[in-house]
C-alpha cells in the first residue's frame, strides 16, 4: 500500500489533471514534428501528404549547414570547457578549506541569478566598445558564463557522494594529490561529470537569448536562424526545428539511459534554488 492520503475520486481527478498538463506540454512539439514531414507547399494542420522533402531542402541550404556546424562546435567547446573549469572549481570548493570560501562560492554561482538578457546585452556592448567582433568570442564567453555554475553544481554533487576514504587511502599509500585525483577521484565522479556534460551540450545548443545578442549575420547559431525565419512559417523552418528536436531527443534518451532524466534535472534544480 503506498499513499492513501487522497481518496479514490480525488485520485482520479488528479490523474486526469496530470494527463491534461502532459498533453499541453507535448502539444506544440507534436505539431512541429508532424507538420515538418509535410509534402505540401505551405503549413497546415494536419498536413495532407507526407515526405522528407523539406528536410532535404533544409540540409541543402548553405546557411542552415553553416548554422548547424556553428551550433554543434560551440556546444562542444562550451560543454568540454565547462566540464574542466567547473570540475576544477568544484574540487577546490569541496576538498580544500580556505578563507572566504562562502563568498567565493556565491560569486561563482552568481550567473545563475543573472538573467540571460543581461549577459547578452552587456557582452555585445563590451565587444562593440573594444572593437572586436562579438562572435565567436562573445558567444563562447556568454554561454560559458551561464553554464559553468551548472557544471559546478553537477561536480559538487558527485564529489559529495564520493567516499573520501578512498582518496585518503591513495594518499597514504604514497600517490600524490594529482595522481590521486586522476586515478581515484576522477573515475569515481565521471558519471556525474558526463551527465553534466550532456546536459550542458544541449543547453548551449538550444540557448537563444544570449546568442541573439552575441551572434552576427555571418556567424549564427541554429536557434538564431530559426528565430529570424519564424514569422514566415515556411515548411523549411519546420524541418530545421524538427532536426533540433531530434538532437534534443537524442540527449534525453542518452540521459535517461545512463542516469535517469529526473535525477539529472534534480541535480540541476538544486543549483538553481541555492
Amino acid at each position: 500500500m503506498t499513499v492513501a492520503i487522497i481518496e479514490q475520486a480525488g485520485r482520479r481527478t488528479l490523474g486526469v489533471f496530470v494527463a491534461a498538463v502532459c498533453a499541453f506540454s507535448l502539444l506544440p512539439i507534436a505539431v512541429v514534428l508532424l507538420t515538418s514531414f509535410t509534402n505540401e507547399g505551405f503549413i497546415r494542420f494536419p498536413p495532407r501528404s507526407f515526405g522528407l522533402r523539406y528536410y532535404a531542402d533544409a540540409l541543402g541550404r548553405p546557411e542552415f549547414r553553416e548554422a548547424l556546424a556553428v551550433s554543434v562546435v560551440i556546444a562542444l567547446v562550451v560543454s568540454f570547457a565547462a566540464a574542466v573549469i567547473g570540475t576544477l572549481a568544484a574540487y577546490a570548493l569541496t576538498r580544500t578549506t580556505f578563507r572566504g570560501r562562502t563568498i567565493t562560492t556565491a560569486f561563482l554561482l552568481s550567473p545563475l541569478v543573472v538573467p540571460h538578457v543581461i549577459i547578452g546585452v552587456a557582452l555585445l556592448q563590451t565587444f562593440v566598445l573594444a572593437r572586436i567582433p562579438v562572435a565567436p568570442a562573445g558567444l563562447l564567453i556568454g554561454h560559458l558564463t551561464a553554464v559553468v555554475p551548472l557544471m559546478i553544481g553537477f561536480a559538487t554533487a558527485s564529489l559529495a557522494g564520493f567516499p573520501r576514504q578512498l582518496e585518503w587511502a591513495s594518499l597514504s599509500l604514497g600517490a600524490g594529490r594529482v595522481r590521486t585525483f586522476f586515478q581515484v577521484t576522477l573515475p569515481g565522479i565521471a558519471p556525474g561529470i558526463l551527465s553534466g556534460l550532456i546536459y550542458i551540450f544541449i543547453y548551449s545548443f538550444d540557448e537563444a537569448t544570449i546568442s541573439l545578442f552575441t551572434t552576427r549575420s555571418n556567424f549564427r547559431t541554429l536557434p538564431v536562424v530559426i528565430f529570424g525565419d519564424a514569422v514566415d512559417q515556411a515548411p523549411v523552418t519546420n524541418a530545421m526545428s524538427g532536426l533540433m528536436l531530434l538532437i534534443a531527443f537524442a540527449a534525453i534518451a542518452l540521459l535517461q539511459w545512463r542516469v535517469g532524466l529526473f535525477r539529472v534535472l534534480l541535480a540541476r534544480g538544486q543549483t538553481i534554488t541555492q
Partner: protein
C-alpha cells in the same frame, strides 16, 4: 584535509574566476557605465535624458505590462505545476511517463517551442482553427500568446522547484493528520501548503524573474502587439542599434523585477511565517 592551502585552491579556481571577470564583471561595468553616462543615438547624454525618454515613451507601458504578465505567468505556472509535483511525490503509477512528458520540453530550444506555438495559434491554418468555439480567437501577437508560451516554457521549472520542496515533506506527517480525522483538502491547506510555503515562494520568484526578463518568447509570440519590455530591449539593440537606451531599458527592467521579488518575499514571510518540522 589540508587547511589554508590557498595557492593550490587558487590555481584550481583561477579559470572560473577569469571567466566570470570576462563574462560578467567587465561587461556589467560597461553596461553600468553606459546606463549612467552613455550617449544615446538621439545625441542626448546621461541618465537624466534617458529616464525622460523612458517615462514619455512606449517603454513605460511595456514595463507595466511585462511585470503584470510575469505575475500572471508565475501564478498560473505554480498553480498548475503544484498538483503535478504532488502527483510525482505521492504516486508511483506511470511516474516515468509523467516525468518524460513534463520535463522533456526543457531540452527543446525556447525558439523551437515559440515557433511551435505560432503554428498552433496562427489563425485559419493553425491547430486552433480546429478547436470548436475557439477557432476564431485571435491570440497570436497578443499578451495571451505570450502568457501561453511563457507558462509552457516555465511549467517544468516550477515543477522542479516545487518537487524539490515536496520531497522534504515526510509522508508520515500527512498520514498523521489524516488519521487524526482531517479530510484531504484540510491536509492540503493546513499541513502540505504551510510545509512547502518556502518552495512555493521559490518557484513563484524563479518563474517571475525568468518571465519578466524573457526576450525570445515575447518577441516571437507577442511582437509589437503585446509590446513587452523584452520586445523593446530587442528592438533597441538589434533593430535601431541604440545600445545606450537599450541598456537603460535593461537596467530599469532588472531594478523593477528585483523590487517585485523583494515585495513578494516580504509578503510571503508575512502570510506564511517559517514553519519548522
Amino acid at each position: 584535509m589540508s587547511r589554508s592551502r590557498l595557492p593550490a585552491s587558487l590555481a584550481l579556481l583561477a579559470p572560473a574566476f577569469v571567466l566570470l571577470v570576462l563574462g560578467l564583471v567587465v561587461p556589467g561595468g560597461v553596461l553600468l557605465y553606459d546606463v549612467l553616462f552613455g550617449r544615446q543615438l538621439t545625441g542626448a547624454q546621461g541618465i537624466g535624458p534617458a529616464l525622460d525618454r523612458f517615462v514619455s515613451g512606449p517603454a513605460l507601458e511595456a514595463l507595466g505590462r511585462t511585470l503584470a504578465l510575469a505575475l500572471a505567468t508565475a501564478t498560473v505556472a505554480v498553480g498548475v505545476a503544484y498538483p503535478v509535483a504532488y502527483y510525482l511525490y505521492s504516486r508511483r503509477a506511470r511516474r516515468n511517463v509523467v516525468i518524460l512528458c513534463l520535463f522533456a520540453p526543457l531540452f527543446v530550444s525556447v525558439v523551437v517551442r515559440s515557433y511551435a506555438w505560432i503554428l498552433v495559434l496562427v489563425p485559419r491554418t493553425g491547430v486552433i482553427s480546429l478547436v470548436p468555439f475557439a477557432s476564431d480567437a485571435r491570440l497570436l501577437f497578443t499578451e495571451w500568446a505570450v502568457l501561453i508560451g511563457l507558462v509552457h516554457i516555465l511549467l517544468p521549472v516550477a515543477g522542479l522547484a516545487l518537487y524539490a520542496s515536496l520531497a522534504n515533506v515526510r509522508i508520515e506527517v500527512l498520514r498523521a493528520a489524516q488519521s487524526l480525522g482531517a479530510s484531504f483538502p484540510r491536509v492540503v491547506v493546513d499541513v502540505l501548503l504551510p510545509l512547502t510555503a518556502v518552495g512555493i515562494t521559490n518557484a513563484f520568484t524563479l518563474v517571475f524573474v525568468l518571465s519578466a526578463t524573457a526576450v525570445a518568447i515575447p518577441v516571437l509570440l507577442g511582437g509589437v502587439g503585446a509590446n513587452t519590455i523584452g520586445y523593446q530591449i530587442w528592438q533597441q539593440f538589434l533593430i535601431y542599434g541604440d545600445y545606450v537606451y537599450g541598456s537603460v531599458l535593461t537596467f530599469i527592467l532588472v531594478v523593477s523585477t528585483l523590487a517585485v521579488v523583494a515585495a513578494v518575499s516580504a509578503a510571503s514571510r508575512r502570510l506564511a511565517p517559517a514553519t519548522a518540522l
